[in-house]
């Protein structure tokens, strides 16, 4: 038995199997340690898979030993391996943080259930990324979606319940749209395997049915990834979810949504159909720019910091989609790169807010006055993460913006490049507001004893912050893989 050969399926089945096991563990602390161990194992698997893909190219695995269009296939290429790494990496960093944070935010008798659902969510996200089958994607999409609804609803504020409900309604509409799209594609091609659909699609591509399928898939996926103006579920969901859930989902779930968009647009329909026949480019471009400007502007006026960052997420998704809308090698590289980079920034920032919440019990801006001196490490992390969000050199944010602007200039769209810079200015305003309050305002009157967050919270935050800096300087790994992934999607040499 060669374990390495089964790696693609183990990557998903290990967390899947662990979830029911975790339910059987009644002790919350034990459940946490178990989940942590599983998550690290999954990260090791993801690294191994990425190395395999880099060395030998695409890896394919036939589930149930049935060959591809008849059975379900797992298909790992550069794109999926890279996103797998993001998802499992973020999970591996978030979980150590979860230990005491979850213990404080979730009632003790529900902690092991919480980790069960967390594992299911991880399973779903990994399963979406790794599968090569359009319907299997829908199934795992629902696993991740249902578990996220349940996780979000566990926030302390009662608004977590309504946020979760709205996400459930909109998410299910999105999933049903995707189901309709997949159904129409299946109807026209007779197959569900993505590679196989791509092969058989050109013969029927000039039909109204295929065009409709495309439209439904794009709308459904846009709902899932919270593309403006379908982002309405996101701000509340991220604001009221437990800290750990927000950090994990903000850094992974929308990224997986973007991945699904890439998969359908480039692998299945092909860039030529999507961008020439359906003129997806200008549509995405306009929506992305609207997302960047409207959401950034709204973010400036938020007093709840989690909500501020949630709107900032909507804007950042705009940047990713902007890169995709160029449909050029540099543009796609920028988009895929930003998947990774944004996961690092938002993971770090939401975790840091989680630490603030752990100590203060609130993330209202006014309560953060003078916090720079009382929680120096946490606030320093927020400042660096914020600078990364703005796109200051030596951070990953700069690298993303650099490639985006490069792509815009390459396509001859210099106004877009100017707009990207203006968008950064807006980010500067909302980050600046936070920094000003924390460092230049006197602490509130009722001088409660506020101490720095414990080390087990600080460590994960700083790992991500250091990653923000490291990958902002040494870009060989990230840009290299993103470029290869982009080339693969476009079918050109890198």
């Amino acid at each position: 038995m060669q374990l390495g050969q089964h790696l693609p399926v183990l990557q998903v089945v290990i967390p899947l199997l662990s979830a029911p096991l975790c339910l059987l563990l009644r002790n919350g602390r034990l459940a946490w340690m178990f989940t942590l161990a599983v998550s690290w194992l999954v990260l090791a698997g993801a690294v191994w898979l990425l190395l395999q893909v880099l060395a030998h190219g695409t890896v394919s695995y036939a589930l149930g030993a049935w060959p591809a269009p008849w059975g379900i296939e797992y298909h790992v290429d550069h794109v999926s391996a890279f996103v797998l790494l993001i998802v499992s990496g973020i999970s591996a960093v978030v979980l150590p943080f979860a230990g005491i944070s979850v213990a404080r935010e979730i009632p003790a008798d529900r902690v092991s259930l919480f980790y069960t659902l967390y594992l299911l969510c991880l399973t779903g996200l990994l399963g979406i990324v790794i599968t090569g089958d359009a319907f299997n994607l829908f199934v795992f999409l629902e696993i991740s979606a249902l578990s996220s609804y349940a996780l979000i609803s566990q926030g302390r504020d009662r608004r977590a319940l309504t946020a979760s409900y709205h996400y459930l309604i909109l998410g299910t509409i999105g999933a049903t749209f995707i189901l309709i799209g997949v159904g129409l594609l299946y109807m026209m091609t007779g197959t569900l395997n993505m590679q196989d659909i791509a092969v058989r699609l050109p013969a029927v591509t000039d039909t109204r049915t295929v065009r409709t399928a495309f439209a439904f898939l794009i709308v459904g996926i846009s709902l899932k990834l919270a593309l403006f103006p379908l982002h309405l579920w996101l701000p509340n969901a991220y604001t009221y979810a437990p800290s750990v859930v927000t950090a994990f989902l903000a850094a992974t779930a929308t990224k997986v949504g973007v991945y699904v968009l890439l998969r359908f647009v480039f692998t299945i329909f092909g860039a030529a159909f999507a961008f020439q026949v359906m003129s997806l480019g200008p549509i995405l471009l306009v929506l992305a720019l609207l997302a960047i400007f409207s959401a950034s502007t709204v973010a400036i006026f938020q007093d709840n910091l989690k909500r501020m960052l949630a709107y900032s997420s909507v804007a950042q998704i705009g940047y990713m989609v902007l890169g995709i809308s160029f449909a050029s090698l540099t543009g796609l590289t920028a988009g895929i790169l930003h998947l990774f980079n944004h996961a690092l920034m938002k993971g770090a920032l939401f975790l840091a807010l989680g630490a603030v919440f752990y100590q203060l019990g609130t993330v209202q801006l006014t309560q953060l006055r003078g916090l720079g001196r009382r929680m120096p490490w946490t606030m320093a992390a927020i400042v660096i993460g914020g600078l990364s969000l703005v796109g200051v050199p030596l951070t990953v944010g700069f690298i993303s913006k650099w490639y985006l602007i490069l792509a815009a200039l390459e396509s001859g769209w210099w106004p877009v490049a100017v707009l990207v810079l203006l968008g950064s200015l807006l980010a500067m305003v909302y980050v600046g507001r936070l920094v000003e309050t924390a460092y230049f305002h006197a602490p509130p009157e009722d001088d409660r004893e506020v101490r720095e967050a414990p080390l087990s919270l600080l460590l994960p935050i700083w790992i991500l912050i250091l990653a923000n800096l490291y990958f902002g300087i040494d870009t060989s790994l990230t840009v290299g893989v993103a470029r290869q992934a982009a080339a693969l999607l476009l079918g050109v040499s890198p």
């Binding site: 379900i72 696993i143 007779g190 409709t212």
Partner: protein
């Protein structure tokens, strides 16, 4: 024509404000669609839709109504924008149908590429007459593992939302509410006592007969759960909990998934791929039989356990 009935039911659902009636109509809607599935040759789907839509979903909706409210407030917003969205979406879909292969056309691409192999080769490869079971449990068995995981997720999610807290109302006073109306009716109790074993027996039949006729783990699980729900309604929540305690259900719901995934891993340890049943026995077809039997058992266990658990949680919420 059945489809027209469906359309009428749907319009009534849209218009009515009495939620109780709406839910009842939804049950009818489900039954009608099940009938349509039968006419479209999808007997397995019909079976499931009837059990799920008209059974479980309706019961859960009714339970929710008793906990919340029966009537809907009149809408205060303009209906223009939603109407516009719906028209655009519907228009797009109708536009998409124009190039579709005609209904029932045997030459349609959908019947040409992947499906014929299931119909032609599954007798030799799997050896079951019910092709739907073959595809569900073997060719696309991994989807089914995903499906069981979805059910398990829902179970865990509902447990998280409705478990714990408010326990004071849950256990002790359920003579007063919930099944109270039928609680002391002797005839009902006797009939139920006679009926329930048969329902359970039927569930077992469906569980193991799915290879040959319509049925399988999922349907069996739902029927099994339905028997329990009936028991709960008549004998009260406390009595039902004595038969199957929430703790046991929690374990069972996990065990079903573990069994399914375990069979998959057994495939790897036996030298094949994940969920490769062919390597589980000396002869591939025998292996397929064994694998399908086991995973269907896993599906049935998890589905029944989760459904009963969800029902307990909803019923235990009664104030």
């Amino acid at each position: 024509m059945l489809l027209s009935f469906l359309a009428i039911t749907t319009i009534a659902v849209v218009r009515l404000r009495d939620l109780f009636a709406v839910v009842m109509l939804f049950g009818i809607f489900s039954l009608l669609s099940a009938a349509i599935f039968v006419t479209l040759d999808a007997v397995d789907v019909a079976f499931t839709e009837a059990a799920v839509g008209a059974g479980i979903s309706t019961v859960l909706m009714l339970a929710t109504l008793t906990l919340t409210t029966r009537t809907e407030s009149p809408p205060r917003h303009g209906t223009l924008l939603p109407l516009l969205v719906v028209c655009v979406t519907g228009g797009a879909l109708v536009y998409g149908t124009l190039d579709m292969p005609r209904f029932g056309d045997p030459q349609a691409p959908i019947h040409q590429h992947v499906a014929p192999r299931y119909l032609q080769d599954s007798p030799a490869e799997i050896g079951l007459p019910n092709v739907v079971t073959s595809v569900l449990a073997s060719y696309r068995g991994y989807d089914t593992l995903g499906e069981v995981t979805v059910i398990f997720t829902a179970g865990a999610g509902v447990l998280m939302l409705l478990g714990a807290i408010r326990r004071r109302t849950a256990c002790c006073d359920d003579t007063g509410k919930g099944g109270s109306a039928v609680n002391h009716n002797l005839v009902l109790r006797v009939v139920a006592k006679i009926l329930i074993p048969f329902v359970l027996l039927f569930a077992l039949y469906v569980q193991f007969h799915g290879d040959f006729g319509p049925g399988g783990g999922f349907q069996a699980g739902v029927i099994f759960a339905a028997a329990f729900i009936l028991y709960t309604l008549i004998f009260g929540l406390a009595a039902a909990r004595a038969v199957a305690s929430p703790g046991v259900l929690r374990v069972l719901s996990a065990l079903g998934v573990l069994l399914f995934a375990g069979v998959g891993l057994a495939g790897i340890f036996a030298g094949g791929d994940f969920l490769d049943y062919g390597v589980l026995a000396s002869h591939p077809v025998a292996g397929q039989h064994l694998g399908i039997l086991l995973i269907e058992l896993g599906v049935g266990t998890t589905v029944a356990a989760v459904m009963i658990m969800i029902f307990y949680l909803f019923a235990g919420r009664t104030r």
